[in-house]
C-alpha cells in the first residue's frame, strides 16, 4: 500500500514539474467557430477564460476570438441560454471549434429503452433511471450493492460485506422460483454480472420494470431488465481524469459471548439438564473447584488454563481498501473515444483474505461517411479473490474460551482436539479464485436515408475462471512443553491441491432497423424491427491431488499420483429472437407504443420451443392539453398518466430440462487381484418432463409522472399487478418415484405492488440542494399450484405468500412438568423450559394429541421484505458538496437462527444476551415465566426447541444510513496553480449505522458467516 501511495505521489510531482517547465509568460490568441448539433452557427455565445474576467462573445457567424495568457492548460467556458455550458481545454492549436448541445431538462433526457432510446417524457412504461454521477458518489465499487435504495421497486439485498461480495437484485420482487435475477445488458449486450462494470464508467442506468418496457427482451425479461449505458466521449472533449481513494474497513458489529466462568457453568447446565437433573450431577463436566479456581490458575499458568478471546485473535480491527482510476476522453466530429482503467483492492477483516479487481473499458465511435458510422468497444475485467481455506467468522463467536490458538512461544496449539481456525487462517494455505473476462463489440450503423437506420452488432465474450485451493498440512503441539508435534489440525491433515478451470464463451448478434418517417408536424411515428441470437458454451475441468510430500509447491505434480482425481463437464444453450416495436404520438400528448418479441430457446423440445410476448402501452400528457394549459395551473409543469399491459417469459431452468439425461458417476469395485478400482456408472437421476415450456408473466401497470413548481418538485407513482402462469417450479414429487424433483410448469402466482418516488430540488443563494425519497411494496401470493415446494423452513404452496415461513405454532415455554405431561408433544425429550407447540390437526383432520410435522406445521408468515424505502440528500455550497443516503425495510418477518441464540455443539460458546434470559432450573418461577429463551439442552435442541416455529420469528425491519459523503472542489486558482482543471477531494463513510431489532451483535443484512463492513474512504478526483 505504501508503495502505491509513493508511486502516486511520484506521478503527481512529475506532472507538476512538467507543468512548471512549460510555464511561460506572454499571450496567445485563440479563435474558432461555435455551432449547434446541426452545424448551424450559434450567435451570441459567451466565451470566457475560466476563473477570470477575460471574456468575449461569438459574432453573427458564430465566430469568436479571445486573447489569453500563454500558459497551459487553460480552460474556456462557453455559455448560452438553452444550451449546455461547455468547458474546453485549450491545447497547442490556436483554432478551437465548439459544438454546443441543447440543454435538456430531466424530462428531455434521453434514456435507453432496449434496441433504442426515448425521451423520458415520451415513456409509456415504467422505467427507473439512475444517473451515473449519483452512483459514483457512493464510492461503492460493487455496482450491484451501489444500487441499493436508489430506485423504487428495485430491491437490493446484501448478505455480506466481505471483499468482493455482490448484492442480489430483485425488480418488483420475486417472479419465479428459478433465477429471479434481472437481465443485465451493458450497451445492449447481455452480461453475466454487473459487478464487472466500474461504477465510474456508468453514464446512466435504465431499469425496465413493467412488461411494456421489458417485453422487447421477451423471454429473459420476466425478472426485469437493467440497461447500463457506459460513458463515451462527446464532441470537443479532451481530458484526463484521475480518481483515487484510500479507505479503511471496520466491522459494524460482532456477536458477543459469555465469559469463561459462565461458559463452564452453562456447559455443566446442558449436561445436567440432559442427564435428567439428578442432584449431585450439577458439575458433571467442570468440577465446582475447577471453575472457582480457574481465574487464579489462569494467572499462574495461562498456557494450561487459558482464557481466550477468539474474536480478538481472529478478527482485525480494520482493513485497508484502495482504488485508483484513470480515464481519457477525446471527441471530435469524426471520432469519439473514451478509455478507462480502474484498479481496486480491499482486504477482509481477517488475515489472508482480499479481493482485487481491474476494469478496463474502451468505447470508440467513428463517423465514416454521412451514411455510415461504426463503433468498436471492448472491456476487460480481471479479479483475484485471495481467500483462506476456512472462513473464521463463525469460529470467532462460537469457540469457547478454554482453548488456545497457539502457545506463548508461538507454536501452534491443538485448539480443541485439533480444531483451530486461527491456525488454518494463518498457516493453512489458500483458496484463491481468478476471473478474467474480455468482451468485444463491433457495430455498423447504416443510414441510407435520413429516416432509416440499419444497424448490426456482433458481441463476443470470453470468460475464464481459475480456482486453486491449496490446503497445507499444519502440525500442532498439544502441550506447551512438548517438543514433538502431536497431530495435525483438522481440515489440514495432509497437504492437498485442487485446481479448477472454467471457460464460458458467448456470442450475441443483433440486426435492427429503425424507421422514423416524417408524416406531418404533429404525428410522430417510429418503427423498429430486429433479429437477435445468442449462444453460450461453458466447459469446466477440475483436477486435484493429495498427500503432498512438501508443502511449499502448489502444483499438481507434487502430490501422490495415487490420489489424483479429475473431473470435467460442458453445457451449451442458445436462443433466436425476432422483435419489433411501433411507437406513435400525437403532438407529444397522446402516446402509444406496442412491442412484440418471438423467441425460441434451446432449453425446450422443438415442439414447445417458440413463444411470442406482446405488449402495449399508452400515455396521456395532460399538461399538453390546451384545456389544462388554459386552467393556468402555474405550478403544474408536466403531468402524464401511463398504462401498460404485456407478457414476459422465463426459461432459466437448467440447460436440458426436457431431456432424459443419463448422469455419469463413479462406483468402486474390487477387481480380480483384490485392488479397488473405479468404474463409470450411469443413471437417470432427474425425472424429465418432455413438454416443459415457457413460464409467462402477464403484467398490468398504471402510473403517473408529474413535475410541479417550475420543475422543482417531481413525482412518480406506479401500481402494478403481475400474474405468472405455467410457473416453473420444482414441485415435490413422491420420493418413492426415485428421481430428483423436476422443474414443471406448475402453477400461478399473483403479485400486486406499488411504488412511488418524490424529489425536490432548489437553491437558496449559493446553496443548491435536492432531496429524493422512494418507497415500494409488493405481495406475491401463490395461486393454484399442482403441488408444493418444501424449502426446509419455508414453503411454496397455494394461498400463501411466496416462500412463507413454515413450521409449528408455538405457545410459549412449558413452565411445569405437569403442563408437559398433559400436552401433545413432538417428542419424548420435551421437559419444562422447552418450547410448547399447538396441536393443530391430525390424520383425520382434527387434533390428535401428538405434535407431528405432517399435520401440525402451517405457513406462519411471509418471509419477503415489505415497504422497502430509500432516499438521498444532495447539497452543494460553493466548492463544498455533501451527499447522504439511507435505505431500509419497513416490515419483515425474520428468523432468529440457531447460531444467533444457541450454539450447537458442546464446546461452542453461548451468546452473551442469552445469559440471564433463558429458562433454568436455577431460576425462580417468576424469572422463568419471563424467560425469552428455552432451557439449555442439547437433546431438546435437536428434538424440539429449534424446529421452525413462530417462536423464533421477530420483526426484521431496519433503517440504515448507507452513505455520507463530504466533498470540496478546490478553487480554480489553486487548481490552475497545480496545472489541473479541476480538483475535488472527498471523504465518505458507508454503512455508518443501522436501527433494527436484531440481537446484539447481529447485523440485519449479514449472514451467519459474514459481516457488514463500515468503510471510511478518503479520495481525490483530478481532471487535467
Amino acid at each position: 500500500m505504501k508503495k502505491q501511495v509513493s508511486k502516486l505521489l511520484g506521478i503527481l510531482s512529475m506532472l507538476l514539474i512538467y507543468g512548471a517547465l512549460f510555464a511561460q509568460t506572454g499571450y496567445r490568441q485563440i479563435s474558432g467557430k461555435v455551432t449547434d448539433e446541426e452545424g448551424r452557427p450559434v450567435v451570441g455565445v459567451s466565451v470566457r477564460l475560466k476563473q477570470t474576467d477575460v471574456a468575449t462573445m461569438a459574432n453573427d457567424s458564430g465566430s469568436y476570438t479571445i486573447r489569453i495568457p500563454d500558459i497551459t492548460p487553460q480552460v474556456l467556458v462557453f455559455t448560452y441560454m438553452g444550451m449546455k455550458t461547455q468547458e474546453v481545454t485549450v491545447r497547442s492549436k490556436d483554432v478551437l471549434n465548439v459544438t454546443m448541445e441543447a440543454e435538456i431538462t430531466s424530462l428531455e433526457e434521453v434514456v435507453a429503452i432496449g434496441y433504442g432510446t426515448a425521451r423520458k417524457k415520451d415513456l409509456t412504461g415504467s422505467v427507473a433511471l439512475i444517473d451515473g454521477e449519483d452512483l459514483a458518489k457512493r464510492n461503492n465499487t460493487q455496482l450491484s450493492q451501489a444500487l441499493q435504495g436508489f430506485a423504487p421497486g428495485v430491491t437490493v439485498t446484501r448478505s455480506s460485506g466481505l471483499p468482493g461480495a455482490s448484492g442480489t437484485i430483485r425488480i418488483r420482487g420475486i417472479t419465479t422460483i428459478g433465477d429471479s435475477s434481472p437481465l443485465v445488458l451493458v450497451d445492449g449486450i447481455p452480461v453475466e454480472n454487473m459487478d464487472r462494470v466500474n461504477p465510474n464508467d456508468v453514464e446512466n442506468i435504465s431499469i425496465l420494470k413493467d412488461a411494456a418496457s421489458a417485453s422487447i427482451y421477451g423471454s429473459r425479461a420476466s425478472a426485469g431488465v437493467i440497461l447500463i449505458t457506459t460513458k463515451n466521449a462527446k464532441s470537443n472533449q479532451l481530458n484526463l481524469e484521475y480518481q483515487g481513494t484510500y479507505g479503511v474497513v471496520t466491522p459494524t458489529q460482532f456477536p458477543g459471548t459469555v465469559d469463561y466462568k459462565r461458559y463452564m457453568e452453562m456447559i455443566n447446565e446442558v449436561a445436567w439438564n440432559d442427564g435428567g437433573n439428578q442432584s449431585g450431577a450439577e458439575y458433571s463436566i467442570y468440577d465446582k473447584d475447577f471453575i472457582a479456581d480457574y481465574a487464579e490458575n489462569n494467572r499462574m499458568d495461562p498456557e494450561r488454563y487459558p482464557i481466550t478471546n477468539w474474536v480478538k485473535e481472529l478478527i482485525n480491527d480494520y482493513a485497508p481498501t484502495v482504488s485508483h482510476g484513470l480515464s481519457m476522453t477525446h471527441g471530435n466530429d469524426f471520432v469519439k473515444t473514451k478509455a478507462s482503467l480502474n484498479y481496486e483492492k480491499t482486504d477482509a477483516l481477517y488475515n489472508n483474505r482480499s479481493y482485487e479487481k481491474v476494469n478496463g473499458r474502451l468505447n470508440n465511435e467513428f463517423k465514416i461517411t454521412k451514411f455510415l458510422s461504426g463503433e468498436v468497444a471492448g472491456s476487460f475485467f480481471h479479479s483475484l479473490g485471495e481467500n483462506t481455506v476456512v472462513n473464521p467468522l463463525s469460529s470467532a463467536y462460537k469457540y469457547g474460551p478454554l482453548w488456545r490458538p497457539y502457545w506463548s512461544d508461538g507454536r501452534i496449539s491443538d485448539g480443541r482436539n485439533g480444531t483451530n481456525s486461527w491456525a488454518r487462517v494463518n498457516y493453512g494455505g489458500f483458496d484463491n479464485t481468478w476471473g478474467d473476462e474480455v468482451t468485444g463489440r463491433v457495430g455498423l450503423k447504416f443510414k441510407p436515408i435520413e429516416s432509416l437506420t440499419i444497424s448490426g452488432v456482433i458481441a463476443p465474450s470470453v470468460r475464464v475462471s481459475k480456482g486453486k485451493t491449496f490446503v497445507k498440512q499444519i502440525p500442532y503441539y498439544n502441550a506447551p512443553d512438548a517438543t514433538r508435534t502431536s497431530g495435525y489440525v483438522g481440515g489440514n491433515l495432509t497437504t492437498s491441491l485442487a485446481e479448477s478451470r472454467g471457460e464460458v464463451r458467448t456470442m450475441t448478434k443483433q440486426l435492427t432497423a429503425n424507421y422514423t418517417p416524417k408524416i406531418g408536424a404533429d404525428h410522430n411515428l417510429s418503427l423498429m424491427a430486429g433479429y437477435e441470437d445468442y449462444y453460450m458454451f461453458h466447459e469446466s475441468l477440475g483436477a486435484s491431488s493429495d498427500n503432498f510430500l512438501v508443502s511449499d509447491y502448489p502444483y499438481l505434480d507434487r502430490g501422490l499420483s495415487d490420489y489424483a482425481l479429475n473431473s470435467g463437464n460442458a453445457v451449451e444453450n442458445a436462443y433466436n429472437s425476432y422483435f419489433g416495436r411501433v411507437a406513435y404520438d400525437y403532438a407529444g400528448r397522446y402516446l402509444i407504443q406496442a412491442n412484440i418479441r418471438y423467441d425460441g430457446s434451446s432449453r425446450f423440445h422443438q415442439d414447445y420451443r417458440w413463444a411470442s410476448f406482446p405488449s402495449v402501452s399508452v400515455g396521456w400528457v395532460a399538461s399538453e392539453e390546451s384545456f389544462v394549459k388554459n386552467l393556468n395551473l402555474q405550478s403544474l409543469d408536466f403531468f402524464k398518466i401511463r398504462a401498460s399491459w404485456g407478457t414476459l417469459g422465463n426459461e432459466r431452468i437448467g440447460d436440458y430440462p426436457y431431456q432424459a439425461i443419463m448422469n455419469f458417476s463413479n462406483g468402486l469395485f474390487v477387481d480380480g487381484d483384490g485392488n479397488i478400482v473405479s468404474q463409470t456408472t450411469a443413471a437417470q437421476q432427474s425425472f424429465n418432463i418432455r413438454d416443459i415450456t415457457w413460464e409467462t408473466t402477464e403484467s398490468w401497470n398504471i402510473g403517473v409522472d408529474a413535475t410541479l413548481l417550475s420543475n422543482r418538485l417531481s413525482f412518480t407513482a406506479d401500481y402494478y399487478k403481475k400474474t405468472t402462469h405455467d410457473m416453473l417450479l420444482t414441485l415435490q414429487i413422491p420420493l418413492f418415484m426415485g428421481y430428483n424433483d423436476p422443474d414443471q410448469n406448475a402453477g400461478i402466482m399473483s403479485t400486486k405492488g406499488w411504488e412511488a418516488q418524490i424529489g425536490w430540488s432548489d437553491w437558496i443563494g449559493d446553496l443548491k440542494y435536492s432531496v429524493s425519497a422512494n418507497v415500494s411494496d409488493y405481495r406475491s401470493v401463490m395461486g393454484n399450484l399442482s403441488g408444493t415446494v418444501f424449502l426446509g423452513n419455508q414453503i411454496i404452496t397455494e394461498g400463501v405468500e411466496y416462500n412463507s415461513w413454515y413450521g409449528y405454532r408455538s405457545d410459549g415455554l412449558f413452565q411445569s412438568q405437569e403442563d408437559v405431561d398433559q400436552s401433545p408433544l413432538l417428542s419424548s425429550v420435551v421437559r419444562a423450559g422447552d418450547v410448547k407447540y399447538k396441536d393443530i390437526s391430525g390424520p383425520d383432520g382434527v387434533p390428535d394429541g401428538i405434535i407431528s410435522p405432517e399435520y401440525d406445521r402451517v405457513p406462519l408468515a411471509g418471509s419477503q421484505p415489505r415497504y422497502l424505502y430509500g432516499g438521498n440528500i444532495n447539497l452543494s455550497y460553493k466548492g463544498f458538496d455533501a451527499f447522504l443516503m439511507f435505505q431500509g425495510v419497513g416490515k419483515q418477518s425474520s428468523r432468529l437462527e440457531e447460531d444467533m441464540v444457541y450454539q450447537t455443539a458442546g464446546w461452542y460458546n453461548f451468546p452473551d444476551f442469552v445469559d440471564g434470559n433463558y429458562y433454568s432450573a436455577y431460576n425462580t418461577v417468576e424469572q422463568n415465566a419471563q424467560a425469552r429463551y428455552p432451557r439449555l439442552s442439547q437433546l431438546a435442541y435437536d428434538g424440539n426447541n429449534y424446529k421452525m416455529s413462530d417462536y423464533w420469528l421477530f420483526d426484521g425491519s431496519y433503517f440504515r444510513l448507507k452513505n455520507v459523503t463530504l466533498g470540496y472542489t478546490l478553487p480554480g486558482k489553486w487548481s490552475n496553480y497545480l496545472k489541473m482543471s479541476n480538483i475535488r477531494i472527498y471523504a465518505s463513510v458507508n454503512d455508518l449505522f443501522s436501527l433494527d431489532h436484531y440481537p446484539k451483535g447481529w447485523d440485519p443484512e449479514a449472514g451467519l458467516t459474514a459481516y457488514m463492513a463500515r468503510t471510511w474512504n478518503f479520495g481525490a478526483q483530478i481532471r487535467f
Binding site: D274, N417, S665, V670, T681, P734, G738, Q938
Partner: protein
C-alpha cells in the same frame, strides 16, 4: 454508393446467421437411447453398487450401531435413541429416497433389457436381469423392514399415478422380493474372475437375511443352507485381520462396497474413536454392555463364570473382546492405553507423558474408559479418516442366520451347533473339530441355545451395523434401550474408586446379564461408584421408521406410521 449499401447489408446478414437451437447434452448421455449394448447396461448396473444408494448400510460409519446398547458417546444421544425422531428426521427421509432411487434405476434396467435383444446374447441378458433383480430385492427388503408397508413400484410410473398410489402390504412385497431373489439365484454366477460383482451366493445370503428380518425362518434356513452348500465361502482365518481396512478380499466376504480415499478423495472421519493421546477426541466408545457380553474362555457369561477377574476384566475372555476393545496396559496408536494411569508411555519417544486418555487428567477423556480396536489401523491417526469398505454380508453372518433359523424352528441338530461352533472356533483361531481348544457349544435346549446364539451374533458382528436390526426384529429395543448410558465417575470420584480398589468394576457388585444377553448395571450404579450420564428412551412406535413427512403431506393415500 449503392455498392457500399449492398456490401454493408450483406455483411450484416452474414454476420447474423441463425443460431441452431437443437442442442444436446455434451458431457452426459441420453436415457432415451440407452441400454442398447453390454457397455451401456453394465454402466447402469454399476450405479446400483454406489454407496449412496445403499444408504441404510453405508450412510455413515457404524451406521445403526450408534443407536444401540453397543455404543457410548458421552452425554450425546442420537435422535433415534433419544426418542425425538419424526417424519422430518433426515435418516427416515434419506433412507427412503435413496433406496427408492436404487429401485427406480433397477426397474428401468429390468424394463429396458429388451432394447438390447439384437446386440446381446440371451444368456448375458439373463445375467443382467439377475443382477438388477438382486438389487431391487435388497432395496425392498430394507424398506419393508424399516417402514413396514410401502408403495410397490416395479415399472415406470407417472407423477399422477404416483400421487394416486398408497402403501402395499409388506407381505405382498415380500413375495416380490423372494421372486426377485430367485431370479438372481437362477441367473447369477457363483464367482467372477475380474471385477467382483454380486453372486448367486450373495442372492442366497440376502434372501436369508430378508427372511430372518421377516421372521420367516423356513425360508431363512433354506436360503442360508443353500449358500453354505455352494462351498464358495469360508471363514477368514484371523478374526482381527478381517477388519483391517486393507483387507478387501476374503472367502468370507459375500458382499461389500469398497471405499477409497485414493479414488474418491474423501474418507469418513474417525477422530471421535481415536484416543486423545494420539490426537483424536475419544468421543465415542464401544459400551460397557458390549464389553460385558463377551463370555469367558469357559463359554460362560461374566456373571456366571468363575474365570472372570474384576480387577483385570480382560483376563480369560473370548479373544474377540480384545479384538474389539483395547486391553488396558497394551500399546495402541503409539501410546500405552490405560485410562487409570496419570501418565503413560509414548512408544515413539520412550518417555512417560501426561495421560490425556484418563479422566483423572482430562475431563473429556473417554467417559467409560473404553477404546475401539476393531477396524483401527495406523492410517486412522495419519488422516483422522478411514476408507475401510462396508462389509454388508459375510459368511459368519450366514452361518449364524442358519443356526438361528434352525433354533427358532426347533430343529436343533448337529448342523445347528456346528454353524455356531465354526464361528466361535475361528475366534479362538482353532479348527471347529478341536473342541478342547475353545468353548464348544453343546446346548440343545431351544431357549438356552437362543440366548447363546443371540449373544454370539452380538459379539461376532459388533459394530457391523447388525445389532440394531437384531434388537428391532427380536423386539428387544424396548428393554435394551430404556436404560441409561453409564460411565466412570468424574475426576474426584474416580480417584476415590482407584484408591479403594474399586476401579473399573467395584469389588462387590457385578452387572446382571439376562436371558436375552442384555446387560444391566443398576447394581453397580447403586454402589455410587459409577455415574449415569444420560437416560435413553424408547417408544414402541420406533419399531418402524416414520414415513417421510413430505410423502405424507403431498399424497393423501399415504398415512404416517402409528404413533408419529
Amino acid at each position: 454508393m449503392k455498392k457500399l449499401i449492398l456490401l454493408t447489408l450483406s455483411l450484416l446478414f452474414i454476420l447474423t446467421g441463425c443460431q441452431r437451437l437443437d442442442l444436446n447434452p455434451l458431457s452426459e448421455g441420453s436415457s432415451e437411447n440407452w441400454y442398447n449394448n453390454e457397455d451401456e447396461i453394465t454402466l447402469a448396473l454399476n450405479d446400483l453398487y454406489r454407496s449412496s444408494i445403499w444408504y441404510a448400510e453405508a450412510n455413515r460409519l457404524f451406521n445403526t450401531d450408534r443407536w444401540t446398547d453397543d455404543w457410548n458417546q458421552r452425554e450425546y444421544l442420537y435422535d433415534w435413541v433419544a426418542g425425538s425422531i419424526t417424519g422430518e428426521w433426515s435418516d427416515a427421509e434419506n433412507t427412503w429416497a435413496n433406496t427408492y432411487k436404487g429401485i427406480a434405476r433397477a426397474n428401468t434396467i429390468l424394463n429396458s433389457l429388451d432394447h438390447a435383444v439384437e446386440n446381446v446374447s440371451e444368456e448375458q441378458l439373463n445375467q443382467y436381469k439377475g443382477e438388477a433383480s438382486f438389487f431391487r430385492a435388497c432395496f425392498y427388503s430394507y424398506l419393508i423392514f424399516l417402514y413396514g408397508d410401502v408403495p410397490l413400484v416395479t415399472s415406470y410410473i407417472s407423477i399422477d399415478d404416483a400421487l394416486a398410489t398408497g402403501r402395499t402390504d409388506k407381505a405382498v412385497i415380500l413375495e416380490q422380493i423372494y421372486k426377485d431373489f430367485d431370479t438372481a439365484i437362477e441367473y447369477l454366477p457363483t464367482s467372477y474372475t475380474g471385477l467382483q460383482r454380486v453372486t448367486k451366493g450373495a442372492a442366497y445370503a440376502f434372501k436369508a437375511r430378508t427372511a430372518t428380518w421377516m421372521l420367516d425362518y423356513p425360508t431363512a434356513r433354506d436360503a442360508a443352507k443353500a449358500c453354505m452348500d455352494l462351498g464358495t465361502y469360508s471363514l477368514h482365518a484371523d478374526y482381527s485381520a478381517l477388519f483391517q481396512p486393507s483387507t478387501t478380499t476374503s472367502p468370507e466376504l459375500i458382499f461389500s462396497i469398497p471405499r477409497s480415499r485414493e479414488l474418491t478423495g474423501s474418507g469418513l472421519s474417525v477422530s471421535s474413536m481415536i484416543t486423545r493421546n494420539a490426537g483424536g477426541t475419544a468421543t465415542a466408545q464401544p459400551s460397557w454392555e458390549l464389553f460385558c457380553s463377551y463370555t469367558c474362555t469357559d463359554g460362560l457369561p461374566i456373571d456366571e463364570s468363575p474365570l472372570f477377574d474384576r480387577v483385570n476384566p480382560f483376563k480369560n475372555r473370548d479373544p474377540r473382546c480384545a479384538a474389539m476393545f483395547v486391553e488396558f496396559g497394551t500399546p495402541h496408536l503409539g501410546y500405552i492405553y490405560d485410562p487409570g494411569a496419570t501418565t503413560v508411555l509414548n512408544l515413539s519417544t520412550g518417555t512417560q507423558v501426561e495421560n490425556k486418555d484418563a479422566l483423572l487428567k482430562d475431563q473429556y477423556a473417554a467417559y467409560n474408559g473404553m477404546c475401539l480396536r476393531k477396524f483401527v489401523d495406523q492410517d486412522w491417526v495419519t488422516y483422522k479418516q478411514t476408507d475401510m469398505d462396508v462389509k454388508i454380508m459375510r459368511y459368519a453372518d450366514v452361518l449364524l442366520m442358519y443356526a438361528e433359523a434352525k433354533i427358532e424352528l426347533n430343529e436343533i441338530d448337529v448342523s445347528t451347533l456346528d454353524a455356531i461352533n465354526q464361528v466361535r472356533a475361528r475366534a479362538y483361531k482353532v479348527n471347529v473339530g478341536e473342541t478342547t481348544l475353545y468353548p464348544t457349544v453343546t446346548e440343545i435346549d431351544q431357549a438356552k441355545l437362543r440366548t447363546i446364539l443371540r449373544n454370539e451374533r452380538r459379539v461376532e458382528l459388533a459394530w457391523e451395523n447388525r445389532r440394531w436390526f437384531d434388537l428391532i426384529r427380536w423386539k428387544l429395543a424396548e428393554v435394551a434401550l430404556i436404560r441409561p448410558v453409564y460411565a466412570l465417575p468424574t475426576k474426584a470420584g474416580l480417584a476415590a474408586n482407584i484408591a479403594s480398589g474399586d476401579y473399573f468394576f467395584p469389588k462387590d457388585a457385578l452387572p446382571e446379564i439376562d436371558d436375552n444377553g442384555l446387560v444391566d448395571f443398576s447394581t453397580l450404579y447403586e454402589t455410587g461408584k459409577i455415574r449415569a450420564v444420560v437416560p435413553r428412551s424408547f417408544d414402541k412406535r420406533q419399531y418402524l421408521f416414520p414415513i417421510p413427512s413430505k410423502e405424507v403431506i403431498i399424497n393423501k393415500n399415504i398415512k404416517q406410521n402409528p404413533g408419529y
